[in-house]
Structure formats: C-alpha cells, structure tokens
Symmetry: C2
Subunit: 299 residues, 2 copies
C-alpha cells in the first residue's frame, strides 16, 4: 500500500560552523516522502513556488513520488534559513519566508482520498485537519509537529491529536506540551489527549514508543559524525510509515520494527546536508544498518 | 568471586525542590558496594569519621560487606551537600567538607590484595593508583571518575586510564576529556588512552559500551519518577562489577548483560534518597526488571 505524505516543501539554507549551504531541498514532506519511498510508493501533497528548481522535482520523481498533489503556486517557495552550533544539537532560525506557503490549502486529488496510511508531517495543525477532513476512512494516521505550533496553534493541535492514531513529537516539545520533564510521565499525559500510539523522539538518544502493548525503547543508529540533522525527525517518521504501510500483520506487531527502520533512515539523513544523505541510502543499505542495530542492542 | 570496591564513604545532604535530606549515607563506595552486594560478596576500602552513624555500619553489614578495609579516622566523615533543580538533571554543590578524607590513604588488608575484580569507584586518581600498586594480579579492573578530577588531576587520571581494563565516565566528562561532542568519536579517543572497555553513561538515556567486540547500546530502565539520582552512576558500575565477578565465561561474553544489570540496579537507586531506593532492591526484583528491559527493547 502507498503512503500519503502531507507537509511542507521548502528551500533550506543551512549554516554550520564549517559550511554554508544555500537553497537545499527541504521541508517535512520532502524529507518524510523520500524516506518513505525506500519502503512504499508515496503520494505527496504540498506547494512550491515558480522558483522551485527543476532538479528537485526530478529528485522526487526519481523516488517515484506521485506529485499529482503538489501545487505550483504563484510566488516564491517557502524558504527557511537556520544556523547550527558546533555540537550540532542547538539551532536557531535566521530567516523564514513563507512565500506560497502563506495561502496554501492542501487539496487532495480524488485518487489520494482513499489512502490507508496517512502521514501528516510537520505543518500547521489547521492544514493537517483540512487533509483529514478530505479523507475517506484511512487505516492509520500519524501526525508530527514542531514547537512553533505549540506556541501559536495549541488548540488546533490538541484537537488534531484526538483525531490521529499516532502522534510523534520530540522530547522538548513533549515537555512543553505536558510540563513533565520525565519522558514516561509525559507519554502518559499525551495518551490522555487521545492517540493510541505516542512516540517521543530524542535525537541521538533514540526514541520511546508508548502503545497498548507497552513501551518500546528504540535505539538511534550510531553515527560518528553528524553533518546536518535537519529533517532527521521527518525521515524517521517517513521511514516508519513507509515500512508500516508495506508490512503484513497488525500495527502492534510491526510498529517496533517500523521505528527501527525509521531510526536507520534518519541516520542516512544526518550524513549529508538537506537530502544529500538520504538519497544515498538504498533498500540494501537500510537493511544492513537495521541488522547492525539488532547486533548493537542484543544482550 | 568477590569484588573489591574502593571509593568514598560520605554523608550526603541532598536538597531537591520538594525535600531536604540531611546526612544520608552516600559516597561512591557506599553506592557501588551495596549495588554490587546483590550479585557477589563485596570487600570495601574507605574511610569514615568518628561521627559516622552506627546504623550505616549496620547497613553495610546487612549487605554482608567485608569492612576490614574501612578505616575509622580521627575526625569527621566526608560531608557533601548538593541541590537539584526541578528537572533532577542539573545539580550544584553547596558544600564539601573533606574531614577524614583529606589525609586518607587506602591501605589494603592482606586478604584484599589478591582480589580478581577491582572497582576503583570515584575517588582521587592518586588514591586509585595507590590501590592498584598494592594489588597482586587482578583479573579485571574498572575505574570510574568525575569532572572534579578532570579539572584538578588530569595527568594522574590519564595515567590511571592506561592501567585499567575498563573505564567509565559520563557523557559530559567524555566531552571534557576528548573535546568531542559525538559520543562515538569520544569513545574512539578514550580507547587510544589505553583501556579495552570504555563505557559512557548518559543517565536516563542509558549507556554506550565500546569494546573489542564493538559497540553496545544499553538502555536505561524506564522510571516514571526520579526521586534522587545521586549515586546512580556508582550503582550502575557496582551492579556491573558484581555481575561480572560471578558470571561464568569471558568478560566479552558477559559485559553486555552486566551493563543491563548495572542499569537496573541504578534504577532502584534513583527511586529513593541516598541508598533508600537501592536497599529496597532484591535479587528477585532485579531479575524482574532485567526481564522487563529485555521485553522493552526487543524488535
């Protein structure tokens, strides 16, 4: 089965202490979509401007991503610029130019509406709602988010959390949402908001799932060097949904493996700027790292 | 086989946002020794003052700890006072009164000198050296440390690292020692200082082993509430050494399990002030949490 991915499509200008990379392909839908494409066919919904480089459209196509739902708006592509500190953990936003994103409404092509696996990648909760409103009975819906929406659209977000099967956020967002420092206490509170599956991402420390079958402690793949972590969270959830959409059996019996595949896919993302790391992955390389993670965690 | 544990024996006054606990039993040797006692007989080396409460001696004895090497000095017991922030991650030292610790020299009783498993728990590197100088050919020596010795006794510490089989430190100390933010890059650099096994502790994020058989990603046991993390690192390494000293087979074939047992023992430590959590553990409870961690990490 295919995965429907809705999110942002952007040009990212990323500064690190050692390099400056202007106008890389970025955005949650780009990262999640390409990550998911290693596991399943992907249908993308998003918007780009007339300045969106042809080579990036070709990159999507190379990954067999269905672009029927990609709108080309009259204006400039969403542009984000950020700077990382030396330890690559802290980043600050230098610039946000919304462009065509400002008046974007995600319209779903008819053939998208019956998708079973829906990934509401990071984007305004109102738009995530709008996508869900157009869907026929999807089998499994996961939403991701970011601190921005906790700050400026909390009500919309809390309503969205009620409507999804799975909700994904990082540890500092979980703290902001629940006022709990302890990740397990935070998971409990987020469950009370509705979703059956809650995943808290902890970057290089891995991630934690809380599900009807209990907790799962998911490791991160060990990297000796992180080139650019932008989009790693999107790649994680993209890989996770890609795997789930293709696996036989129940969500409960597949979600742990799906998280490990997500984790591995995210590790490729961190190895290059923008999508340069992710596009160097392959089904074979992903399987190898999965097996390596099995070995690294066995006791 | 028994474990020889050398380290500090202290009275800890610990303040948290919700409680104040004066003169708890503390110190690296107390935490590591009691933790190890759930797995193997323990021989302790340390010093206390004449003010050291009788009930704490009884606590050691209840755990069958051999106290032949515990000196009773003419003066006051080492007293440390610290305060934790709300998130229980950051702490600051309020007071350090060295007392009898100031002129302490660890003398090993003859029957201690042929111990095979030696844990040099956190204490001045010069004293850790002095213990090693007295040993006949121990089978496996592990040293722990703290940021203080990186600041004031780095040369001694680096020389010590060369002499041990295993070296344990936390992530911020590893960063301080190697100037590497990436934990795997730091492990590589620490290996070059000599030890065959290097473990970086990451608190609630677990720990990472680097060994001749590669990396091991060790989970932390999930706790919904941390009452007092003081001594958790000591308990981790105590449980680890206790298990190793009793396990059949090579270090390589046992060290992963030993770390998980260390992790579980440390989780009990975090559930109470001072040693109040650790002493509520039992062999059965430790085994149960070990099995639970197996389930929580399987994929």
């Amino acid at each position: 089965m295919s995965v429907l991915v809705v999110g942002s499509t952007a040009l990212d200008s990323i500064k690190t202490p050692t390099a400056e990379n202007p106008r890389l392909l970025g955005g949650s839908a780009s990262h999640a979509g390409v990550a998911a494409s290693y596991f399943a066919p992907v249908k993308m919904v998003g918007v780009v401007g007339k300045d969106f480089p042809r080579r990036y459209i070709n990159l999507y196509k190379k990954h067999a991503i269905d672009l029927t739902g990609l709108q080309i708006g009259d204006g400039k592509t969403f542009h984000w610029s950020g700077e990382y500190e030396l330890n690559m953990n802290n980043r600050r936003t230098l610039l946000t130019e919304l462009g065509v994103f400002e008046h974007f409404t995600p319209h779903l092509p008819d053939q998208y509406k019956s998708s079973n696996f829906v990934l509401l990648a990071n984007i305004a909760p109102a738009l995530q709602h709008h996508v869900l409103d157009q869907m026929r009975r999807p089998k499994f819906v996961v939403a991701d988010t970011m601190d921005l929406w906790l700050n400026i659209a909390l009500d919309d977000l809390v309503k969205l959390i009620r409507r999804v099967d799975g909700f994904v956020l990082n540890d500092s967002e979980a703290h902001q949402l629940t006022n709990e420092d302890n990740v397990f206490a935070a998971l409990k509170k987020i469950h009370q908001l509705g979703p059956k599956y809650v995943i808290i991402k902890k970057g290089s420390h891995g991630s934690i799932l809380s599900s009807p079958k209990g907790f799962f402690i998911c490791p991160a793949f060990p990297l000796h060097k992180v080139v650019d972590p932008t989009g790693a969270g999107d790649s994680f959830v993209g890989g996770l949904m890609g795997y789930l959409s293709r696996a036989r059996g129940s969500i409960d019996s597949n979600i742990r493996k799906a998280m490990v595949y997500g984790s591995v896919t995210a590790s490729f993302c961190c190895e290059g700027f923008g999508l340069n790391g992710t596009i160097k992955a392959s089904t074979e390389k992903i399987k190898l790292r999965y097996k390596e993670l099995e070995k690294l965690t066995r006791f």
